[in-house]
């Protein structure tokens, strides 16, 4: 089943949670709604589920307008952030709930629930109560419960948000495999970029109630459409530069920027990812000190190492470029950094392999 969201807006009091949002979710996709708190992703999910009413806009399911259809008639499976398991019912009864309210015959209920218990690897735990389960187990019960009613679409609200890091990783992989097996259209909400990238076929990045960009994980990471997307996904160094006559300039280093052919210079923001920078020891110094012209020609920047920190398998080298107050971070695989063995205070040259330039909002420019 495919879902089409058209021009949905929703405000809570004076807070605009969603602002004219449109989205297509093709059949069989596993889609991630990614964004910071307050971006509207959970609100959008709940509106699709029917747990909130939009102020304006339309929702279509396979072409049919379901905007006014009540949640109980939408045939969505919703997995709540804190699971919302029925605390006084056993695991079995929780999963069976949707079937029981539809007055399904006893044997059908039993067969279905056992099938689902097997699917989510909780065989034999049917008699337990939610309070006797771990977080990961509760999550799987919530999922099984949602699947029991044969929903046309599965919606998950920060499904792994409340779990331990290690459990989260395991369940993520498990959910992806489940989706591959079942092939159900699914949308999940997360603020964790890693989770979105690992799980989803496509990622929708949201901010302040709007969609910033939509694409595969590679697309949004490599070709961010807006500064927000670039900044939100992965780490980034941001600098001030300018654009002029088809080129952007950052610390004297020119970068091709054909989008701005005008001769009037404008301020611009230059975005560099720490792992897309090369770093090398500075060649022996020319007499006379720093040679910025040389840097401009070769496309690299002289800098001094401030400190080196380790983060898991990555070494982060913090440098101060010449003539700048801001720190520049370079990420290297740890082994490479160890072989390089840079010391704080050493002179280095930094060469960006990839640079992105964004112009600030037009309002800021006369």
């Amino acid at each position: 089943m495919s879902i089409h969201v058209r021009g949905i807006s929703k405000a809570f009091g004076t807070f605009q949670a969603l602002d004219n949002v449109s989205l297509d979710v093709p059949q069989g996709t596993l889609l991630a709604l990614l964004g910071p708190s307050g971006s509207g992703k959970t609100t959008l999910l709940r509106i699709i589920a029917g747990l909130e009413w939009p102020d304006s806009g339309r929702i279509e399911e396979d072409g049919a307008d379901i905007t006014d259809r009540h949640a109980r008639q939408r045939e969505v499976g919703f997995v709540f952030q804190h699971y919302a398991l029925f605390r006084h019912m056993s695991v079995f009864e929780n999963i069976a709930f949707g079937l029981r309210v539809r007055k399904a015959p006893k044997q059908e209920v039993e067969a279905k629930v056992n099938e689902l218990l097997h699917l989510v690897r909780l065989d034999g735990l049917g008699a337990r109560k939610p309070a006797q389960l771990s977080g990961g187990q509760r999550q799987r019960v919530a999922l099984a419960r949602a699947l029991a009613i044969r929903p046309k679409i599965l919606l998950l609200d920060e499904p792994f948000g409340a779990l331990d890091a290690k459990v989260r990783v395991e369940l993520r992989q498990w959910l992806r495999q489940l989706h591959d097996e079942i092939g159900m259209t699914s949308v999940f909400v997360t603020h964790d970029q890693e989770e979105a990238f690992e799980l989803a076929d496509e990622v929708v990045v949201m901010n302040h109630g709007r969609i910033e960009q939509r694409g595969t994980p590679d697309e949004v990471f490599e070709h961010p459409a807006t500064p927000f997307v670039m900044d939100f996904l992965g780490n980034v160094n941001v600098f001030h530069g300018r654009v002029e006559k088809g080129q952007a300039f950052w610390h004297g280093i020119p970068i091709d920027y054909p989008d701005y052919p005008h001769s009037q210079a404008r301020p611009a923001r230059v975005y560099l990812r720490p792992h897309e920078l090369d770093i090398a020891r500075a060649a022996a110094e020319q007499p006379g000190g720093h040679d910025l012209t040389a840097a401009a020609v070769t496309g690299s920047l002289p800098a001094s190492v401030l400190r080196i920190a380790r983060s898991g398998a990555i070494a982060r080298i913090s440098c101060r470029p010449d003539g700048s107050d801001t720190e520049l971070h370079v990420d290297l695989p740890f082994d490479t950094a160890r072989d390089l063995s840079l010391q704080p205070g050493e002179r280095v040259t930094i060469t960006p392999r990839k640079v992105r330039v964004f112009l600030p909002d037009p309002e800021y420019v006369i």
Binding site: F80, R87, L119, S134, I149, L163, D164
Partner: protein
């Protein structure tokens, strides 16, 4: 109740304080309570029974109490559930006013409540003439008793349910809705089991209050012996007639009921505390209670019938 942690203190001071507390409670509560039973059975159980069972007016009073109180409690239970659902699950203008209004019976003297009812339903009241033509009696008759008792016990169930329902939150009910449950199904399968102990607590308290109500019922009933005297009113009438032993006999039944109420209340409160603790624990979810989240090794199993959807 949490166990006290004693800061290093003089055991003598402690003994004195405990003695004082015990003395206060003993003098004010225990002595009177025991004297009811002592006096009631002063002339032996046979006399006690005679006082209760052989006096038609007393028999009627017992019967009347046992009918009026449950009706009032039933009305307040329905009201309590409805009002608690309304207040805790929805937001609407006038919500705070409603909550305050529910507390009014607590702060109004029961006599004032009774008077208000008389002003409406009494012979010279607002609806007096209408009722007279219809031949309905409210004041000086049992409907008035029910109204008065209902008024006085109104807040008891609501005030129990609202905090519990707010603490639990609407998520489970929303989940039920998303799974396709109708309104009644949501209420009966999800909400009711979650509030049952709080509900029971409220009912027990309301019942105790209803059976013991004096002031409002006194005003509304006209205290006609054998017709509109409830048990507390009967106690008073017997007392006025200087039939103290009989009065004590009826009082002892009421006191016995009070003790049963207290025991029930104690038991229910233990359950409530246990549930509150469970709620707290669930809020701060520990991830691996039994040490595992059962790492799914090969991935999810599919049944031999094939995928689900």
């Amino acid at each position: 109740m949490p166990k006290p942690t004693i800061t290093s203190a003089n055991p003598l001071t402690h003994r004195l304080l405990v003695a004082a507390a015990v003395g206060i409670v003993g003098l004010l509560i225990v002595v009177p309570l025991t004297s009811v039973f002592a006096e009631a059975f002063a002339e032996g159980p046979a006399a006690w029974w005679r006082a209760l069972a052989h006096d038609p007016d007393t028999r009627h009073a017992i019967w009347l109490s046992l009918t009026v109180a449950p009706i009032a409690v039933a009305i307040n239970t329905v009201f309590g559930i409805a009002a608690a659902w309304l207040v805790s699950r929805f937001r609407f203008p006038g919500r705070s006013l409603l909550i305050t209004l529910c507390d009014v019976p607590f702060s109004v003297s029961p006599v004032v409540a009774g008077l208000a009812l008389v002003l409406i339903f009494g012979r010279q009241g607002l609806l007096g003439p209408t009722l007279a033509t219809l031949g309905w009696k409210v004041i000086f008759s049992w409907p008035g008793l029910v109204l008065a008792t209902t008024f006085v016990t109104l807040p008891l169930v609501v005030r129990e349910l609202i905090p519990v329902m707010e603490a639990i939150g609407p998520e489970e009910e929303l989940a039920a809705v998303s799974l396709g449950a109708s309104g009644w199904q949501v209420f009966s399968r999800v909400t009711l089991p979650n509030i049952r102990w709080a509900l029971l607590h409220g009912i027990v308290l309301a019942n105790a209050r209803a059976m013991g109500e004096f002031g409002a019922v006194y005003v509304v009933s006209g205290h006609i012996a054998g017709a509109t005297d409830t048990m507390p009113l009967r106690v008073e009438k017997l007392f006025q007639e200087y039939r103290t032993p009989a009065s004590m006999a009826v009082a002892s039944v009421l006191a016995g009921l009070a003790l049963v109420t207290l025991v029930a209340k104690f038991v229910i409160e233990r359950r409530l505390e246990a549930e509150a603790r469970e709620l707290e624990a669930a809020r701060s979810l520990p991830d691996t209670i039994d040490g595992s989240s059962t790492p799914p090794d090969a991935g999810p199993h599919t049944s031999t019938h094939g995928p689900i959807a």
